[in-house]
Symmetry: D2
Subunit: 135 residues, 4 copies
């Protein structure tokens, strides 16, 4: 597996639900935050010409308000007209620096490169090269 790009955030109050934990669709926001920072570091544009084709998440443990979270994002697959990014979200233990982060969820999002007509178009060469370098 590729070296992941890592982003840290805190779980927001508005992201929790009445069961006291972070609502299940908030992780897809976290996945996007990871992608955005990954693209920033790679110097790639993040825009509507990259619609999402599929997304999935497996839930292992839950997060609570104000938990310090670490979002790991990495290139899972490069395709002719898109690519798939893998994601893992961990909770960082703030009381014991030596503790291993706890894996909360893992998932992926697949994106398709589209043209102005919103139809799939081959992944631009510069894009492919940038992803390839970190895959």
């Amino acid at each position: 597996m590729a070296q992941p790009f890592v982003t840290r955030i805190r779980a927001r109050y508005c992201e929790t639900d009445a069961s006291g934990i972070v609502y299940y669709n908030s992780y897809f926001v976290y996945f996007e935050l990871g992608r955005v920072e990954m693209f920033r570091e790679l110097g790639l544009p993040y825009d509507w010409r990259l619609p999402i084709a599929d997304a999935a998440c497996r839930y292992h443990a839950s997060a609570r308000f104000d938990d310090l979270l670490e979002i790991h994002s990495f290139v899972e697959e490069i395709r002719s007209c898109g690519f798939r990014i893998g994601h893992r979200v961990f909770r960082v233990d703030e009381t014991e620096a030596a503790a291993e982060p706890t894996l909360l969820v893992e998932g992926h999002t697949s994106m398709v490169t589209v043209g102005d007509d919103r139809r799939p178009t081959p992944l631009p060469e510069a894009f492919r090269a940038a992803l390839d370098a970190v895959a």
Copy 2:
């Protein structure tokens, strides 16, 4: 006060927070749902040429997941380049049909009519007439 336009919804799980009640900014979504249905009934367009100038909400009681809510929206003021809509959200008691709904919050949103340059422009006459008829 004008006769309000009434819309009914149920509080969604994603709208609650870890304190077990509906998160405070969800009411601004409810206000918008009320405005959208009010505009639909009045035959007015609901689009980006109506940016929000200010919004406010006073919280009296809280809602929980799946509560049946009634959103009341009414014209509070018609201005030269916009208008102000008042909102009240009530919880409907589903166990006792005779019970009065409980007022949860009241607030308002002011909207400004803007042109393609996004600068304030006088409220179109047809718009004014439609609002005036229900104010």
Copy 3:
């Protein structure tokens, strides 16, 4: 496939994003609305003792603000300690009553029955029977 439970909603303005279409994680809210109504019809409780184990969505076409959407939910699989619900979201053509709805997304959510200690516990018999009757 089982007969789906059908819920109708309109896409909310707050659910759209800057690309002009409904944001990808909003569909997981729609999936939940479908589950909630399905459970209501089946007389089953909808609470925190049913955490989500995994969720996935494939995106075929997009929805815009105020589109009329139809959420189909159906039992896909009954397991020893949980079950999997399938979901499809369609856009209803409001101008041509005869038109077929357009499939926008399809996905699923798996839920696990847990006890007060939040550990998996066998699906209660009444729960299994209710799901079985519509699977």
Copy 4:
């Protein structure tokens, strides 16, 4: 006016709407982020015993996806059973370091201290002292 507590964030894609700008209720999330960080710095707890009594926002300019935002939060008023926090959100110009930040919105949130019975209770003395020191 008191010296504000300052928090920086980036506007998230999920916070934008179909008009291309940050949705109006997202600013109440930003206000809360400002309050949470302010309370963290003051060593005060942030929990359900501080329900929101009212909230308001005036919109001057809009934010777009990925804009760098600065949230300013400050004590506006200390009351017998609560207090009012003022908020301002600015957009930071990342291309010209010398440029003044642009004021996007200003608003406030009032919070009430409540007891276990959820009724108003006097602001604890330590709480009052901490707020007083920065008011």
